[in-house]
């Protein structure tokens, strides 16, 4: 089942995924992660500090984006490096629908030791929300 290094090449596309995020998602993530910054749950506070709305935790978006990689390889322990830049916030309106984070990825480089670099693209509301989003994974 595991993806073999021999099966992939530069340009191999990973299955894209969409991740919904609502206010309830953010409250749950705040509790699980211990990040209770009010910009992630208090609309009044978010507006006061100049944000368009309550915004998703950057680390929540980062957690969703890597799922495209871990679902592809099967073993999350295959990830040896993962980094992102937070380029735009993900506003989450209190409308019962929230926002959607769309993530795609492709193999950008073949490395030594059966490792590959995957470049990820994360979009929400037509905006690129992560930059330089890259993971290195060791394949079978």
């Amino acid at each position: 089942m595991a993806i073999s290094f021999d099966e992939v090449e530069v340009g191999t596309v990973l299955p894209a995924q969409s991740f919904p995020v609502t206010r309830a998602t953010l409250v749950r993530y705040a509790g699980a992660s211990g990040d209770f910054n009010p910009i992630h749950w208090n609309e009044k506070f978010a507006l006061e500090v100049g944000l368009p709305d309550v915004i998703a935790h950057g680390m929540f978006t980062m957690a969703e984006a890597i799922r495209v990689v871990t679902d592809w390889v099967g073993d999350p322990g295959a990830v040896v490096e993962y980094g992102v830049r937070f380029t735009k916030p993900v506003p989450v309106p209190n409308d019962g629908v929230g926002a959607v984070i769309e993530v795609s990825g492709k193999v950008a480089a073949l490395l030594d030791d059966r490792r590959v670099r995957v470049d990820l693209v994360a979009m929400s509301g037509g905006q690129k929300v992560l930059g330089m989003s890259r993971a290195v994974v060791r394949l079978a």
């Binding site: 991740f19 998602t25 749950r28 993530y29 509790g31 699980a32 992660s33 211990g34 990040d35 500090v49 100049g50 950057g58 680390m59 929540f60 980062m62 957690a63 969703e64 890597i66 799922r67 871990t70 679902d71 099967g74 073993d75 999350p76 322990g77 990830v79 040896v80 490096e81 993962y82 980094g83 992102v84 830049r85 937070f86 330089m132």
Partner: protein, 152 residues
């Protein structure tokens, strides 16, 4: 007032060990909506070669962010956290965090620079297990927006 660059290279004492529990990993995996059985089913994790359930790749931030409070709340550094946004984040893993780990974090200020009135603070958290073996390093950049910045 810009942050004092003489703090570059400062290392804080290792944190008291954080004990990683199966149920905490499950809670985190549920919160990010990730149903990978390696996070919740010890047998599934073992089938992948792990001794117990492992944590999702971004889970270490829960621990390193707590540890970075030493820097963020260091009165000598004087960071105004109400103006801080997360700029970027990176992890380099020796192995995944797993249930039963007792992890200590050693926090170092890697860099401080000022750009167009903003302070950019780079903090590294090195995570070691009870045996002193390296598990993961988290690199975090925080951007403190300048107090004089116009238009906000």
């Amino acid at each position: 007032m810009p942050l004092d660059p003489s703090f570059i290279g400062r290392t804080y004492p290792p944190t008291a060990p954080y004990e990683v529990g199966r149920e905490k990993i499950r809670e985190f995996a549920v919160a990010v909506g990730d149903a990978n059985p390696a996070y919740t089913d010890p047998e599934a994790a073992k089938a992948l070669g792990h001794p117990d359930v492992i944590a999702p790749p971004t889970f270490p931030f829960v621990i390193t962010y707590q540890a970075s409070a030493q820097v963020v709340e260091d009165p000598e550094l004087g960071l105004d956290f109400s103006r801080v946004v997360h700029g970027d984040q990176k992890f380099t893993y020796t192995r995944p965090v797993r249930a039963g780990d007792r992890l200590a974090v050693t926090v170092t200020i890697d860099n401080i620079k000022s750009m167009v009135g903003n302070d950019i603070l780079s903090v590294r958290g090195e995570v070691h297990d009870e045996g002193g073996e390296h598990v993961v390093t988290a690199f975090m950049t925080l951007v403190a927006r300048g107090a004089d910045e116009a238009g906000e």
